[in-house]
Structure formats: structure tokens, C-alpha cells
Amino acid sequence: MIRAGKRAEVLRSNTPWMCLSCYHCVVRCPQEIEITDVMYAIKTIAEKEHTYPSNVGPDFTGVFIGQARRFGRSWEIGLTARHYLRHFPLRLPGMAPMAFGLFRHGRIGILPHRIEQRKQLQAILKRADELERAQ
């Protein structure tokens, strides 16, 4: 579609955000096209140009990464809380049993785990951001 001049439609499409990276397409493609990587590329460009149709997907990703960058680790409960509050507030009560269940079995932490060398990580990522922008 991009080659047919429909670049804008592609970037506005919801399809790449539905890709779960299962890689079935890549191993089967007779032309060995790395389709999953194409999806990633479309997503990163859509993110940069803000052309994604719905921001549930990009937002989830953004929150996840924002937390991972800050703490050096992902923070499930922080992610879920923020995500549901923003996008599915009415579903929060329904999630309570699951959250409680996970708590009970010791499978979820309340506070985020922070790595020691946070500054190092952030320096690396800051430089990476610069390089990414320059691309």
C-alpha cells in the first residue's frame, strides 16, 4: 500500500497495533519478508508522526516504557492502574478479583522495584533518543 501511494492510510491503520509479534508470518513468508519488523517500523513511524487511530495500544506501550525507563523494571500494578483509569475506568471494579487473587498468591508487588544504576540506564537511553531523533 505504501508503494501504491497510500502511506497515510497505512500509518492511520489499526492493523500494526494488533500485531502481537508471534512471527508466524515471518517463518512462512516465501519471499522471506520480515513482516513483523515491518509492523514494528510502521508503529514507530506512526508514533513519531502521531498518526495512530486509537491511542489505547500506543498509550499502553508508552506507559509501560515510561515506567521501565524510570525504574529499570516494569511495574505491573502501576501500569494496569494507570491504563484502566485512563481507558477503561468502568472495568476497574471488575479487575479487582483478579488483582486480589494475584496479591494473595504473592504474584504482584505494590511498589516498583528500582535498579541501582538508574542513572546509567537513563544516560544510555537519553543518548539513544538523540540518535533516534537524528535518524
Binding site: 508466524h24 517463518v27 512462512r28 513468508c29 516465501p30 519471499q31 522471506e32
Partner: protein, 695 residues
């Protein structure tokens, strides 16, 4: 080797004609050809250049005439043409030279196209390079000697390897022309894959009906000696004079006594799955002929599966044989054949569909390959022509046919297998004939290029059937809705309507691609031909010489050189036979005299060259303690010349002298195009060359 006894003409006797070709704008667009010719006339006079011309297309008739006329008018005795690669026109100019009355090997062609104008953009530098290349050619040709071709006799007998339709076609052409043919086939009967098919496209002829008459003709022809259940073990010799060692595997049945009655097969208690002829779908006995119309009718005992050979008991076949033809003590026999030419027609193997795990072949019972389906549909097959599911009983109500399985796929075989689209359409028709099933055909493209092929496609379209343009992503038995329960589901994107769809069917047929035989590469080595990375035999020229190979005397026909349909295979078989007949009729063949020779007096007997020769042309004389080269087998590749540590081997037509002279000539021209020094005679004054370079 009969180089005419001559001495090199004294310096002032050499008269060279130089011809620089424009090749339209191919050369002239980059190299200033007029300037090169002018430069040669002026600066290479002392090297013997008498006339130097430039011309638009030297290979044209008038261009060639320039050469022949100049030889006569100027008394030329050497020719240098600066044009395209010798690969293309060396012969052209050598022939023109011969027409002028000069020995053709006194003509040299240097490439200022592939090696100059086609690879450079700097016109000034390219012109200088052309001058240097030309100077090299001039220096070399001064050392050329007149040569005569080697002549070899042609044995009128021919070996055809492979008894499929291509091999049979070649055999019949040669035999009918009155010449002896040895037809070697590794299976117990000739017939090849075509014997397995049900009907052939586009005529829907019964395959066996059109094949068996040819099989019988080949089997009973007085000029044909059939060696089935046999394999070629060694090929020695050269064109016109091949010595081939064939292993006739033990059948454990005496061919002379056996009358083909078939009682032994009836009485044999041991049943095994027939992996070859029945494509793994049916059974045969331990003593068997692959199919009823086998030629020859003599059965074969499958030793690893025979109860007698395993345990020492049974011998039912022997008991019931009325002519006492069973011979458990029979051994393999080695037969040596002397032939003049060889035609390889060893055919193809089917792509192993188990490799495409997403299609479930081997895991899901009702997924079949094309050959399996041919056997199902064939009335002489394991189900007597009933198209049924793997349970052997149920008729399918819906069948899917998948194109391009293993073909056009970088994960497996990148090429198109040529016949599968037509084969899939044929299947669609056959299924309609045999069942009431709904037919789905999944394709990427419809490749129906041959005569009557697209009309066949249109006919099948009219017969009804659902054609989906999309390659199935997977075939699964996991149902998502009640309608899908118990079915095979194909998941596919219907690209014509732009939707993903799921098709539940009872049976799936995979049109698997064609592959080279599993032992194709070993066979190529054995016969001394080349094959590609995939394993397909390489023709001499894919467009203009599809049945010859780079090895003189060895030809290819049929699928051994690439996937093709039956008409093409038959045509190639006949074409190869025609080429062989041409050779036989000439009785004697001329071979290029560009050969290597061992100078016995310098040979130390180290034998390094013996194993290096890719054509096995070098042998060692124990008595004399020196190596010697068979001129007919030698292809003049030069490997031994370079390898000999004593420098005892020289190449006729590429002697050390000639090569070094050419290098000298190249170095004679400075970067600015001015000549550095005149050549000395004799050649290879290294100090002088260094001096020239420093200047």
C-alpha cells in the same frame, strides 16, 4: 597432439592484422576505438602490425570479410581482433581466418568490452587500457603456432541413463535410426514418474496408455539393450570413447528363465509398503514388479524385506515358480559398456511436503501429496481408482488443492516447478469425475503457458469449482465453529476480495514442487557435468543449447536439468538423440587443440598433477616414471600447467611463453598511453620490464 612442425617465423616475417571493433556503442561509447587502431598502426609496427583497422561490428559479414580479404591482400600471418569476450566470437574470427587461408589458431581475440568498456566510465583511461590490452594480444599472437584439432573416433553405441519418458524418447530415436542403445534404469522397470500418473494434461490421455507402447517398443527393440535394476558406477574416457561401468543389481530372479507369469508375487507372504511406485499409499510384495505393465516383466526380490534373506525360511516364490527362475544365490554383476555418447535423463524427485509443517502433511491424515493423489485416482492404484480419504473408505465431500507447495518459496525452493498449476487443474477435473465433492483451488498465479493449457484452465473453470487466489497460511484440524468440526481447515487470505477466510474441507491435495534427485550432485560428479546449487544439471546454454552440457559427449534431457512437462521432456530426449546421431554420422569428431602436454624429459614423476585434473585426463606411466596426458580428455583448463613444480607441463595455445608475452605487452603501455619500450625477442626479460614500469 599434432602441432604442425614449424619454427616461429623470424621477426621480420611476422605480419599482423589488427582489428578494433566498435560493437556499436558498446565499446565505442567508452573507448576511442579509432584512436586505438591508429595508435596500433603507428606504434606497433615493430611488433609486426602491418594493418590496423576499426570497424562498427567486426562479427558481421563485412567485418569478417575485412579479415579474410586482408590476409590475402596483405599476406598477413597473424590476426588480432580487439572486441568482445572470446566466449562469444573466438570461433567466428578463427573461422574467418581459416577462410582467408590461414590456420585459425593464428588468430587471437582480446576483450576490450567485458574487460574494458563495460566496466569503466573514464573514457581516457579506458582508451589507454584498450591500447594495453591490444598490445598484449599482439605480443601473444607473435608466439602463436599453427595448430590442428585432435580427431577422435565416435563409437556409434549410446548410453541413456534413466528410463523415464525423456530417456525412452531418446532411446527410440537412436534405436530407430539403426544404432545400439544401452538404457540403464535404477528401478526394476522403465517408465519413470509418468507410469505413476493417472491422466496427463491437457488432453486427459490415460498416462499408462500412451506410455506403455513406448515402453514396450524400447523393451523389445533389437537395437536396445535394457539394463534395469542397474546403476552406473563409473564413467571413464572421453567423447566418442566412454567406458562405463554399470552394476546390475541382483534380482535374485534369472531373467532368461522368468516368463513373467506373476505367480511368485501372488504367493509371496510378505507385504510391505511400496514407497516408490505407490508413493507410500499402497503395498507390494517382497518379490515384485512395480506395476502390471512393467518392462521388463521380470520381478525383483527386495532383499532387506525378504523372509528368506532375513530368517532363512519361506522360499514360497521358488516353490511355485514353474520355470525355476528364482536364484537366491544370484549376485550383483558388473557390466562394462563402451559407448560414444551419454544422455542423462534421470528425472526428478518430489519436494518433501513434511518440511512444510504448517500444512500438516504426515500429521493430519487427510492431507495428500500430488503423487499420492495420482495413485488414488489411478484405476490400477491401491484403491482401484476410488478417491477416498486416508481411512480407505470415505469419499470426500470437499477437496482443496494447494499450489506452490515448496516452490516459489525462499524457505524451500525458490523456483517455480512449471507443471503444478496444470497438474492442480487436472486434479480438479479428476475429482469431479470420481466424486461429487466441492472443489477448492488455492493458487498464487495460474501458470498455464503451453499449447492448449489456458484453454484447459478455462474448461476447468466452466466445470465449476471455487478458485481462491491466495496461498494458505496453514492447514489445521482445530475447529473454531461447529461447522468446522472434524474437517481440515485452510486459513487463507483471499487476495481478490481482500478478506481472510477459513475453508473447512475433507481432503487436501498439496501440489508439491519438483526437486532434483537426492543424489543429483553425486551423479553430476560421476558423469563429469556441472549442476547448479539446487542440483539441476547445467546446460551448455540455457537458451541456445538446452540439451548439451559443457562436457563433450554428455547430454541431458528431461527434468534432470529443470522442471518441465512431458512434451518438453520428449522433445529434449529427441533433441539429445539428434545431437548424438549427428556425431555418430560424422564418425570422427574434431576437438579443440588447446591442450596441455607433459614434457617427459622435465617430468620428475611427482604426480601432483595426476589428482588435480578435473577431467581425469592425466595418467602415470609406471615403467617410464613420468605422467602423461590423454589429449582427447584434456580440456585445456590449465590447472596442471600451473601446478607442476618443475614447469614440465605446457599448454598448447597457452604456453608460458605466450602468457608471459601477453603480460609484457600489457605492461608496454604507460599510463598516458605512450609506449614504454619495444618488445624484445625472446621474451621475459624481467629487468627490462621493471625498468619500463619505473619509467
Amino acid at each position: 597432439m599434432t602441432a604442425e612442425h614449424s619454427h616461429l617465423p623470424a621477426e621480420n616475417e611476422i605480419r599482423i592484422g589488427v582489428y578494433v571493433c566498435h560493437c556499436g556503442s558498446n565499446i565505442a561509447g567508452v573507448v576511442d576505438v579509432a584512436e586505438v587502431a591508429r595508435w596500433a598502426a603507428e606504434n606497433l609496427k615493430d611488433q609486426g602490425v602491418v594493418v590496423a583497422r576499426d570497424y562498427k561490428f567486426m562479427c558481421s559479414s563485412p567485418g569478417q570479410e575485412l579479415v579474410t580479404d586482408d590476409i590475402k591482400n596483405f599476406g598477413l600471418n597473424r590476426i588480432v581482433v580487439a572486441a568482445c569476450s572470446p566466449h562469444l566470437h573466438e570461433n567466428t574470427f578463427r573461422t574467418a581466418t581459416a577462410r582467408g587461408g590461414l590456420n585459425p589458431y593464428l588468430c587471437e581475440l582480446v576483450s576490450i568490452r567485458e574487460q574494458d568498456s563495460w566496466v569503466h566510465t573514464d573514457k581516457a583511461a579506458a582508451t589507454v587500457k584498450a591500447k594495453a590490452i591490444l598490445a598484449g594480444g599482439v605480443e601473444r599472437v607473435r608466439r602463436n603456432e599453427p595448430l590442428s584439432p585432435v580427431r577422435v573416433d565416435i563409437n556409434p553405441a549410446t548410453l541413456v541413463v534413466g528410463g523415464g519418458i525423456a530417456g525412452i524418447s531418446a532411446t527410440l530415436e537412436l534405436a530407430d535410426a539403426g544404432f545400439k542403445v544401452y538404457l540403464v534404469e535404477k528401478d526394476p522397470s522403465i517408465g519413470g514418474h509418468m507410469a505413476q500418473f493417472d491422466k496427463t494434461f491437457p488432453t486427459l490421455d490415460c498416462s499408462a496408455c500412451i506410455l506403455t507402447p513406448k515402453m514396450v517398443a524400447a523393451g523389445t527393440h533389437p537395437n536396445v539393450e535394457l539394463l534395469t535394476w542397474s546403476e552406473v558406477e563409473k564413467v571413464e574416457g572421453y567423447v566418442g570413447n566412454f567406458t562405463v561401468t554399470v552394476r546390475k543389481k541382483a534380482r535374485y530372479v534369472n531373467e532368461d528363465l522368468c516368463n513373467g507369469c506373476g505367480v511368485c508375487q501372488e504367493k509371496c507372504p510378505k507385504k510391505v509398503i511400496d514407497e516408490v511406485f505407490e508413493a507410500g499409499l499402497g503395498y507390494r510384495k517382497a518379490i515384485y514388479t512395480p506395476f502390471d505393465q512393467a518392462v521388463p516383466r521380470t520381478p525383483v526380490i527386495d532383499r532387506p524385506n525378504c523372509t528368506y534373506f532375513e530368517k532363512g525360511t519361506c522360499k514360497a516364490c521358488e516353490k511355485f515358480c514353474e520355470t525355476n527362475a528364482i536364484d537366491f544365490n544370484q549376485e550383483d554383476s558388473i557390466v562394462t559398456l563402451e559407448v560414444g555418447n551419454i544422455i542423462m535423463a534421470t528425472g526428478y524427485d518430489l519436494f518433501d511436503a513434511r518440511k512444510m509443517t504448517q500444512y500438516g502433511y504426515g500429521r493430519l491424515p487427510n492431507v495428500f501429496t500430488s503423487l499420492e493423489f495420482e495413485r488414488l485416482s489411478n484405476s490400477a492404484g491401491p484403491t482401484n481408482g476410488h478417491v477416498v480419504l486416508r481411512d480407505g473408505v470415505t469419499e470426500p465431500k470437499s477437496v482443496a488443492i494447494v499450489h506452490c507447495v515448496g516452490s516459489r518459496d525462499k524457505n524451500h525452493n525458490n523456483y517455480c516447478s512449471a507443471i503444478c498449476c496444470m497438474q492442480s487443474l487436472k486434479f480438479a477435473h479428476l475429482i469431479k469425475e470420481h466424486t461429487e465433492a466441492t472443489i477448492y483451488d488455492f493458487y498464487i498465479d495460474m501458470r498455464t503457458a503451453g499449447k492448449g493449457y489456458d484453454e484447459f484452465y478455462q474448461r476447468i473453470l466452466e466445470e465449476g469449482g471455487i478458485f481462491v487466489r491466495g496461498k494458505p497460511a496453514e492447514i489445521t484440524d482445530v475447529a473454531r465453529t461447529p461447522e468446522e468440526e472434524g474437517k481440515l481447515i485452510l486459513s487463507v487470505e483471499d487476495t481478490l476480495i481482500g478478506q481472510q477466510r477459513r475453508f473447512p474441507v475433507d481432503m487436501v491435495i498439496l501440489s508439491s514442487g519438483l526437486e532434483p534427485r537426492a543424489d543429483a550432485k553425486e551423479l553430476a560428479v560421476r558423469f563429469g557435468i556441472s549442476c547448479s546449487f539446487d542440483g539441476w544439471a547445467i546446460e551448455k546454454h540455457p537458451k541456445l543449447d538446452p540439451v548439451a552440457t559443457m562436457t563433450e559427449g554428455v547430454f541431458v534431457a528431461g527434468c534432470v536439468s529443470g522442471p518441465k512437462d512431458i512434451p518438453a521432456s520428449v522433445a529434449q530426449g529427441a533433441a539429445a538423440a539428434a545431437r548424438v546421431l549427428g556425431r555418430i554420422q560424422q564418425k570422427v569428431m574434431s576437438l579443440e587443440p588447446i591442450k596441455a602436454t607433459v614434457h617427459a624429459e622435465h617430468c620428475s614423476g611427482c604426480r601432483i598433477c595426476n589428482t588435480m585434473c578435473p577431467y581425469n585426463a592425466i595418467s602415470f606411466d609406471d615403467a617410464l616414471g613420468v605422467s602423461s596426458i590423454n589429449a582427447a580428455m584434456c580440456q585445456g583448463c590449465g590447472t596442471c600447467v600451473a601446478a607442476c613444480p618443475a614447469g614440465a607441463i605446457s599448454g598448447t595455445g597457452f604456453s608460458d611463453e605466450q602468457v608471459l608475452a601477453q603480460i609484457e605487452g600489457l605492461l608496454m603501455v604507460g599510463a598516458d598511453g605512450a609506449p614504454l619500450r619495444r618488445s624484445a625477442f625472446p621474451v621475459a626479460h624481467h629487468e627490462a620490464v621493471e625498468e619500463a614500469v619505473r619509467a
